[in-house]
Symmetry: C2
Subunit: 275 residues, 2 copies
């Protein structure tokens, strides 16, 4: 397996954006709404902050207490929508339990031209039309890797395992448009890999996919994330599959940095449009 460095591609993308933003005199501003006390949120927000810095932009984190009411969150979103110094708005997920049922309401409240995550119903729905606007960064990152490592997508067979609204559903729609055969399985079964040119494994358990499962000449994208024996890992055991012929976007160092790079693409685009 050739291990694809998501980190390297992400750095490449971000360097390009930095240069382009400098030429266009753009200083993109990302607002992140962070509600409650999720330990991992700090890690993810810091990664985004560093990425924004790397493209010459700024980040504004709006930190809210777990007890924040629905109305207060909507008020803050409305303020950020109106604020001309803000280019992109991102609601850090997950939400505290008492607000989780309001997720759609919040995503919908984000102005579609600032919805750099591509999570608002309007942007999700544009994906089914001829001209999508902002698309989920994780799905864009997967499509990017497919384009880089396969000659053409039309006629290719793609297996997607999972059902998420941010990876599997938008990626399925994009691959259908590319003329791929797309199979979506709720759970992983080794036999589903037969004949697949692309496999994106989101639903799974730590390191569940090993040597015996993996076919030759396949592009595998690990879209799982687990803490296992105190180490970050995905669904695919990269050591075990190393001897196979093909490509692997592994966890860690794969989809994580690459999706943040695509968030930076969306953010720069949002900033460029406004000008």
């Amino acid at each position: 397996m050739e291990i694809i460095s998501g980190r390297r591609i992400a750095d490449e993308i971000q360097s390009g954006l930095k240069a382009a933003n400098r030429v266009k005199e753009l200083v993109p501003c990302l607002a992140v709404i962070d509600i409650g006390e999720f330990k991992d949120n700090d890690i993810y927000i810091n990664l985004k902050r560093k990425a924004v810095e790397s493209i010459g932009g700024t980040t504004r984190v709006v930190k809210l207490k777990a007890e924040t009411s629905q109305e207060e969150v909507l008020e803050i979103i409305r303020d950020l929508n109106q604020d001309h110094s803000v280019d992109g708005i991102l609601l850090q997920l997950p939400l505290p339990a008492h607000l989780d049922a309001e997720r759609e309401l919040f995503l919908e409240a984000i102005a579609c031209e600032k919805d750099v995550d591509g999570f608002s119903p309007w942007n999700r729905g544009r994906l089914m039309g001829p001209q999508p606007e902002f698309v989920s960064c994780a799905a864009l990152a997967c499509l990017d890797v497919c384009r880089r490592y396969l000659d053409s997508l039309a006629g290719k067979k793609a297996l997607l395992v999972g059902n998420s609204f941010d990876v599997v559903q938008p990626l399925a729609l994009m691959l259908i448009k590319e003329g791929c055969s797309v199979c979506i399985e709720p759970e992983y079964k080794p036999e589903a890999l037969a004949g697949a040119d692309i496999a994106v494994i989101e639903a799974g358990t730590p390191l569940m996919i090993g040597f015996g499962d993996v076919k030759s000449k396949i592009l595998m994208i690990d879209a799982g994330f687990h803490w296992f024996n105190d180490k970050a890992c995905g669904n695919i055991d990269r050591e075990a599959v190393a001897a196979r012929d093909g490509y692997l976007l592994p966890v860690p160092g794969g989809l994580g940095p690459l999706l943040i790079a695509h968030l930076m693409v969306n953010l720069s685009r949002a900033a460029g449009r406004k000008k």
Copy 2:
């Protein structure tokens, strides 16, 4: 093959709606915007008009010349959005060539609470969330048949052939949520039917699927429509497959009436909400 009568199910649904609308004192009003001179449009609009009548509602057809400008169409949509006597708004497709590039713009202009076709980006995007609003009637009709003829959907294998935004894409998303394994193929290949519990064949040629292709115990939905030897037909040759064990929603008399019945469900819902 047991031939499923889309007509019979449609009549059942519409009788139920008629009774329910009478009890709720609803007289749903559907506005249809019909631009240009497409011969088949009159046929389709008359079928919808009759269906609306059958549920105790009224239809208002806004007939526009082929030369109508983009701005005039948008103006009419805005007027209908504001008009409290109108419950549902439908843009009859196809559009004249000079307006075709504006299709998304028009669909987007329709107020989402009157978008009974479920074609606006907002409604298409809601489909990826936990609470869809109005969903494409053709996709709803297919799901309805699946629910009526299969014990449960979770774990079933569905094959969808085609890539349309009104049948294949929304149906794929709904079946993924039901826990199905969903395979979407851009073109029909007989081997793709292997192991399928459900097959929805939209892309195809007249009567291309015959006895040799069809497996036993399958639910087949013909979502093709062709004029062939002066007769309406679908992708599946119902005479040829008659001896197989399974269920077929055929063309004609299958998806056509059933999708109009689901349009009536959406229209009655839109009218009921407003009250």
